[in-house]
């Protein structure tokens, strides 16, 4: 069911802004409640070292939880490099 994908997309864009992510360098999509983020993960503010693997892992984990808490989101696919969680749920094509 596609109902709500635009509303979800708007909320995802808003969430990315609040996390200081450079939305211009990310492709953001929603298909039937599945959120897709693809591209380069960069911060719009210094002080968030997204290239440190540990920081990046924690950041992505929080981001995924936040995205899943958006009403209507059933799954999150992060194709941003370094997003593997060991369970195969996310995929990363490398930076």
């Amino acid at each position: 069911m596609a109902a709500g994908d635009f509303a979800i997309s708007a909320k995802v864009h808003r969430l990315l802004k609040r996390r200081w992510l450079r939305a211009e360098q990310l492709q953001v999509g929603v298909t039937e409640g599945v959120v897709l983020l693809r591209g380069r993960l960069g911060a719009e503010a210094a002080g968030v070292d997204l290239d440190d693997p540990a920081v990046r892992g924690r950041f992505l984990g929080r981001l995924r939880r936040d995205l899943l808490s958006v009403s209507g989101v059933t799954e999150v696919v992060l194709d941003v490099g370094g997003a593997e969680d060991g369970g195969g749920r996310w995929i990363g094509t490398g930076s």
Partner: protein
């Protein structure tokens, strides 16, 4: 915090107290920015925009040779990068390493929107380098920009009276300029001259229009550190070097969003659109914010207008496609997805949504072809593979469906739909034991899921509708 003191006393290294933080806790936004950019460049050495930002940072800190190197590296990666070209020229002029008679001859064929302005500022720096009194009053400059830059170059040559005269012009022309100049202590109407501190503050800014990007970045760094006043002062600096009320309001909206001030975000973005109705980025930001806050009509109107203003933005086309889809206008949605892909064939979300919609419209063969293109682009997800499996099932191609679904189950062992459809295919192929295993896994992973819908038409083997992954 006293904004006046903050703007005029901030050293080039940008150290400021963290408002509300423990006593003595300092944040050096410029140092943090330098470290962050260098770290990011270690991992992404081929990103020209990062080198450009680092070049601007070096320029702002008076590190001309380092700035030169960064701009040269940016141009080495992207020879048509015109802001880097003008940044390089500024760094060379400031070092005295460029003949002031050397007119700019930027690479590439596509002038930037602000290029006339950049060229005029370049001329002012060349005049300054050749000992003339630069008065950036060329026809190319809009009045407010001209006033700001005329004041800046007057301050650079120590002409306090001329600097004051031009600041007064700016102040008369724009209430935003008047507010910022007054709060920063750069212009007090009761004073006949501006003081040494104000002159120094004017001189300390990086007077290049595209330096607004750096001051925005520094401002966001302050905001991320909880330092609202410092963030606002940095956004004001961005405005001084490129006086756009709309861009200023957008930056303030970002900070308001960070501080959880939802109503203020909306009012600032509306202010940005009112200040500059042709500023597509402001309309996009307002469109998403409105839609996210439940003001759907206004959100749609803003995105429609953004598309009219900037027809080359694939993401706006894509999102309007999603909106059409919500309104049941599938053909219009398909057209928008297609046009987004026409602008950017690598735009994965548009192809993904288009493939999904084609399958929903029972155009499984076309949908499958689009999904296959995504696979060839190097993209895959369990969700997508399940959709591909369902499409293959609907086309009666059980072996192909099996490949997709097994791959989906491998990618995400917790994807209930993958195992449900695997069970369907195994059973149809007479593999009862495998079907039982797959359905057991489906039951293990599907707690809390909606009951499965009735099987859809068209499939020779099984359903073509079912739960999301």
């Amino acid at each position: 915090m006293d904004r006046n003191r903050e703007l005029t006393s901030e050293k080039a290294d940008g150290v400021a107290s963290r408002a509300g933080g423990p006593s003595g806790l300092l944040i050096d936004a410029y140092r943090e920015a330098r470290q962050a950019l260098r770290a990011e460049l270690e991992h992404h050495p081929g990103y020209a925009d990062l080198r450009q930002r680092l070049g601007l940072l070096h320029l702002a800190l008076g590190e001309w040779p380092e700035a030169q190197a960064s701009f040269e590296e940016a141009l080495g990666i992207h020879p048509g990068y015109r802001a880097a070209y003008y940044g390089l020229r500024a760094s060379l002029l400031l070092q005295g390493a460029l003949d002031p008679r050397d007119e700019p001859n930027p690479p590439g064929d596509a002038p930037q929107t602000d290029e006339a302005l950049w060229r005029e500022i370049d001329r002012a720096y060349r005049d300054e380098a050749s000992g003339k009194s630069p008065e950036p009053e060329g026809q190319a400059l809009p009045g407010l920009v001209r006033s700001h830059y005329a004041a800046a170059f007057a301050a650079r040559r120590g002409d306090a009276a001329a600097a004051r005269r031009h600041l007064l012009e700016a102040s008369r022309e724009s209430p935003t300029s008047a507010r910022i100049l007054a709060e920063a202590g750069l212009l007090r109407p009761e004073d006949e001259e501006i003081g040494d501190g104000a002159l120094e503050a004017l001189r300390s800014l990086l007077w290049l229009p595209f330096a607004e990007e750096l001051y925005g970045y520094i401002g966001r760094t302050y905001a991320a550190g909880g330092m609202r006043a410092e963030a606002m002062a940095s956004f004001d600096r961005a405005y001084l070097v490129r006086p756009s009320g709309a861009a200023l309001a957008c930056r303030q909206a970002e900070a308001a969003a960070h501080f959880g001030e939802e109503d203020r975000v909306l009012s600032l973005l509306r202010e940005a659109v009112a200040a500059e109705p042709g500023y597509a980025r402001a309309r996009i930001a307002l469109g998403f914010e409105c839609a996210a806050q439940g003001y759907h009509d206004e959100g749609r109107e803003q995105l429609e207008e953004a598309l009219r203003l900037a027809p080359g933005y694939a993401d706006v086309r894509y999102n309007l496609g999603l909106l059409r889809l919500e309104n049941g206008r599938e053909e219009q949605a398909l057209e928008l997805f297609r046009s987004a892909l026409g602008l950017n064939p690598s735009y994965v979300p548009a192809r993904h949504s288009m493939a999904s919609l084609l399958c929903r419209l029972n155009r499984h063969e076309e949908g499958l072809q689009e999904y296959e293109r995504l696979l060839r682009q190097g993209f895959q997800s369990a969700d997508m593979l399940v959709h591909m499996g369902r499409a293959a099932l609907a086309l009666g191609r059980a072996d192909e469906a099996l490949q997709y679904l097994e791959r989906a189950g491998f990618l995400n062992p917790d994807a209930p739909a993958a195992f449900y459809y695997l069970g369907v295919v195994y059973k149809a192929k007479g593999l009862r034991r495998k079907a039982q295993c797959a359905w057991r896994r489906y039951l293990e992973t599907s707690s809390g899921w909606e009951p499965l819908p009735e099987p859809g038409p068209g499939g020779a083997i099984g359903p073509c509708s079912g739960p999301a992954v």
